[in-house]
């Protein structure tokens, strides 16, 4: 029989689980209470307003920025894991540990600088288009639309 002491180790996990469920439920309830009720009409949801009924669904808007920020967050977040064991024995490691961590931080900082300089973290309307796409003119847009259509035909 598993004794009480062993089970007590899992108490924290159960508490965390309960907290997670409560938080999830609270978020759902809050959004249900606070979200705007009024559904847009069918006409408002239509992509064009000049009477043309689209023959097929337009591709979904794909907000890359959110994904980008999330991925950048993951990578910087997980780097911190190395700092915890370092922090525990900071004093026992003497100067060696500090120097190593500073080098580590410098490397991470350069990665961060790269992201900033590429505009990966600048929020709001993009000031610069994605590299390789060039400046956008009506011609390139038509080209891209054409490319998209032919590739979807091939897939179908």
């Amino acid at each position: 029989m598993v004794n009480r002491e062993t089970m007590a180790q899992y108490l924290a996990i159960f508490v965390l689980l309960a907290l997670g469920i409560v938080f999830g439920a609270a978020s759902l309830v809050a959004s249900a209470l606070l979200a705007p009720r009024k559904q847009p009409s069918a006409a408002k949801l239509a992509p064009y307003e000049c009477g043309i009924i689209p023959s097929r669904e337009p591709p979904q808007r794909f907000p890359v920025r959110f994904y980008l920020i999330a991925m950048i967050f993951i990578i910087f977040d997980i780097e911190i894991v190395f700092l915890y064991p370092f922090a525990v024995i900071l004093h026992q490691l003497r100067t060696f540990g500090l120097v190593e961590v500073l080098v580590f931080a410098a490397v991470v900082l350069v990665a961060f600088l790269y992201l900033v300089s590429n505009g990966a973290l600048s929020w709001g309307p993009p000031k610069r288009l994605v590299e390789g796409m060039g400046s956008r003119t009506s011609e390139t847009t038509i080209e891209r639309v054409g490319a998209g259509a032919s590739s979807s035909d091939r897939a179908a």
């Binding site: 062993t6 591709p59 979904q60 890359v64 991925m71 993951i74 990578i75 997980i78 780097e79 894991v81």
Partner: protein
């Protein structure tokens, strides 16, 4: 009385097998990523269990590295997926069919 170490090892082996099978069977790229994570974490569980059984801290230190590598890997993978599926609606491996022969 505590749970014997071999149970954890068996659990890890089962998790690893589920991950490997899932990777081979599932077609959704994101589910495939999850399967890779499952496999890596099964390895982590094995490391921790052995570290405990052998009374050696080394196995636990390894887990840090594997965790960070797994995160780096999945971020790169997600980056590639975002780059590919920007103009597509689904993320299935069957859509990747240009290269064959």
């Amino acid at each position: 009385m505590s749970i014997p170490g071999s149970w954890y090892l068996i659990l890890a082996a089962v998790l690893f097998t589920i991950g490997a099978l899932g990777l081979l069977v599932r077609r959704n790229v994101l589910v495939m990523f999850m399967c890779i994570e499952l496999m890596l974490n099964a390895a982590n569980l094995t490391f921790v269990t052995f570290a405990r059984m052998l009374h050696d801290i080394g196995g636990q230190a390894v887990v840090f590295f594997v965790l960070v590598v797994a995160a780096a890997e999945v971020v790169v993978g997600l980056g590639i997926v975002v780059a590919i599926f920007r103009r597509r609606t689904s993320a299935t491996a069957d859509d990747l069919h240009i290269l064959k022969g």
